[in-house]
Amino acid sequence: MPANVRLEVTLPKKPLVDTKRLLRGLGRAVDDTTAIAESNFKATVKTWRRKPRFVRRKATRKGKAIEGDVTTLDEIYGYVTGGTRRHVIRPRRGRLLAFRGGKYRAKTRRRVLGSRGGGATGGLRFAKQVMHPGTEAREFQQEIAARRRRNLHNFVVRAWAEARK
């Protein structure tokens, strides 16, 4: 015997998500993420004598996206995180280079978001020029981005959950 089945679309009385609340929540997700990223950056220079400046831009809506970021224009930080190749160092002003000739202990390590004690040791030595062996790229921003991506996902899920009516 054929059955007569009828399907009917039933809509809830109002939208299920509060869009204003969602927008606020997603903005907060971006801001919380950049705040942690900034503290991650600062941790990598904690024991540096000359500390680079990091600039954090809070969440703003740009077209279909909500954006925020943490940046530095510090040249030295760029060399540390990006690494350098082998290069010759010559004196710029005087005729000789002066540096400490003992063991050098790096303050930072690749992909480690922290900074420990370290630096040059030993007595002064002089040279007309030296061959610097290069610096291993610490890849700080890649590590921070990878960690914050997972965290951001949780913040976005939280924003959607809170915006449900």
């Binding site: 009917e8 679309v9 939208p15 927008l23 971006v30 954006e67 925020g68 060399y79 921003q141 914050r148």
Partner: protein, 64 residues
């Protein structure tokens, strides 16, 4: 007592080596960007809702 030595040839050489050094090492762009998709505006949601209601209404009345 210190004596200032100015050697134009050496100065030129050093400037040149400094220039080569800076050209050889491009400072990487250090930044972490965070981007999420923005939700639709309230007006867009309202419009989508009206369209759905219209379809539901047509479905009930059997209108094509």
């Amino acid at each position: 007592m210190t004596r200032k030595i100015w050697d134009p040839k050496l100065a030129e050489e050093l400037t040149e080596s400094d220039r080569r050094f800076r050209e050889g090492f491009k400072v990487p762009d250090v930044s972490v960007n965070v981007t999420v998709n923005a939700p639709p505006t309230e007006e867009q949601v309202k419009q989508a809702w009206e369209t759905l209601r219209e379809y539901a209404q047509r479905d009930r009345t059997g209108e094509k």
